[in-house]
Symmetry: C2
Subunit: 340 residues, 2 copies
């Protein structure tokens, strides 16, 4: 899922998202609640209509941003009080409030309000799970819109017993989809992958599984190998801002002087509009002089790269050759033996 934090995937128009094969877009409840306000979006006919994205949308619960972006947050069992990172104004999110905001925004998939604890702090994780589970139940009860799917989120840090415990509690609430939250926030890959494997054994196979906040191409492949269906990440657009482009042979940084006179596209094998038309030399120039077209072209490429990868993964799965596909893809991308 490309990320459209503030009701826009940075620099990309909805028609471009369609053309690049985006089938669902994520938007952030915390940001939209603050600006322009979920009530305003609801009065515009909801987020699809507001941002003119006719395809599926997912909103997060706002929890992650409340904990990571806002100032002076105060958590209690009822909810979280926080100061806006924009103007310092005071706000309060509860599970019921998060669901109400997400119902106003009107995405197709919405998420339970949860706490994302430091993943390696065993005691804090245990304490936090009690809240997250109680909040999941309250979200379930608060949610009324029949045209939205409310997904549950499994927490539990990097600890097997806590993850399995969390999965059992959340699954008892019988959500139509399950997310694995609280990862990709500082723990190592060696700590992250086992969590996915434990969850692969526990979560129901017939319901979608969503690994939140993960977007490195290697993690997409390794996540799918561990049973994940859905991902979201700001990486494609954030990398674009830093001049980094995905290629089949790994990342390159186009602002590097060696690309100043390089007439090749970002990735010779890519079929995105950026690569079909523009050279590394031109994109480098745009980035060097701070022209926003540079960000647009880079983001469009990086997004298409990941969407192409996922399409390749899907095809490989259908054709029963996923392991071969994954090993070969990783070996080339990492210029090393690819280990799924």
């Amino acid at each position: 899922m490309p990320v459209g934090t503030q009701a826009t995937v940075k620099g990309i128009q909805p028609r471009e998202l369609s053309e690049m094969g985006a089938s669902i877009v994520l938007s952030n409840t915390y940001h939209l609640y603050l600006r322009p306000g979920d009530g305003l979006v609801a009065r515009r006919g909801g987020l699809h209509e507001f941002m003119r994205w006719p395809g599926p949308l997912l909103t997060d619960s706002g929890g992650f941003q409340v904990f990571s972006l806002s100032e002076m947050r105060k958590i209690d069992d009822e909810g979280v009080t926080f100061k806006s990172h924009i103007d310092g104004s005071l706000h309060r999110f509860t599970p019921e409030k998060s669901i109400a905001v997400q119902e106003n925004l009107g995405a197709d998939i919405i998420m339970c309000f949860d706490e994302c604890p430091p993943p390696t702090d065993r005691e804090y994780v245990a304490e936090s799970l009690v809240r997250t589970h109680a909040w999941a139940r309250r979200c379930r009860n608060a949610h009324k819109r029949a045209d939205q799917a409310l997904f549950g989120i499994v927490q539990g840090g990097v600890f097997r017993d806590q993850r399995e415990f969390s999965a059992r509690i959340i699954m008892e609430l019988d959500f139509p989809g399950y997310a694995i939250g609280g990862l990709a926030v500082g723990e190592t890959k060696a700590e992250m992958y086992p969590v996915l494997e434990w969850m692969d054994d526990v979560l129901p196979r017939e319901r979608p599984r969503y690994l939140m906040g993960v977007g490195d191409p290697r993690d997409l492949i390794r996540g799918v190998a561990r049973g994940i269906d859905l991902f979201d990440c700001v990486l494609p657009t954030r990398l674009a801002r830093h001049g980094a482009a995905f290629t089949r042979d790994g990342r390159i940084n186009v602002t590097n002087a060696k690309y100043a006179e390089d007439d090749a596209p970002l990735d010779a094998e890519c079929d995105c509009p950026t690569c079909k038309s523009f050279s590394r030399a031109y994109i480098r120039h745009l980035l060097q002089v701070g022209e926003m077209l540079g960000l647009t072209l880079m983001s469009a490429h990086n997004l298409r790269f990941l969407l192409n990868l996922m399409a390749g993964i899907r095809a490989a799965i259908f054709e029963h050759r996923f392991t071969n596909f994954a090993t070969g893809w990783l070996a080339r991308y990492e210029r090393a033996e690819g280990v799924i």
Copy 2:
């Protein structure tokens, strides 16, 4: 002519320029000379190829930016020494250098290197004209590329005798097109329009006339009424950055609170992609939160608005109803009696 200062019309892709009906784009020699360098552009196959704009291009001479943007410029009869506004490095432009740079860039229309004096300073204008005329002759001699049209520039401030004198000298050099320079730089409209009228009587009717740096829709109409064929201006994209959109009923500023819940397009009569899809409320949101898509959507609209206006002017001229068209258009735009 939409302005693509740094080899890109800010936030707009070449295919969008084509779709909005742009038939020629202007780019700035001063900026491209500094970054990425005209030699680099030449080695990429020229500016058309570099920026992937297949249509006609015009480059200015760099003179205006040398005088307005650079630091510590020093003019002598040979040329101008100046410090880059980017890194303070020292550079020198002469008529020959400007032509060489423009030949490297490879636009279809290139401009003589001239000085743009304060238009109401009679003595300085007279002194400056001597240089501008000598430089025009040197540009004519230096220019070798047969696939480029070199336009002459008439200067002379707001003074009839000096303008007519300048026109005579420049016309003696027999350029395929003539520009009126040194206007829209601080003088009043009441000072500018007479200059156009004097030039309308003097410049050859069968060659294109280009009023440099003018882009307000009222000035386009009043310029055409005074014989002008070509205009360029950063106004559509600059206004976009300030939240201002052209409409048939005058400018509006979309960041104004009254548009927060306005579901109408920027201009109900506009056929641009922005107006066909997006609401004032959404665009206002994008501008409020600093999302670059806001600038792209606003710029695309403002550019299309001016291109539509010019298309309307051309149709009216062909159908011998220009005066009616112009009067009616201005009356509505200015909500007053339109005076051409």
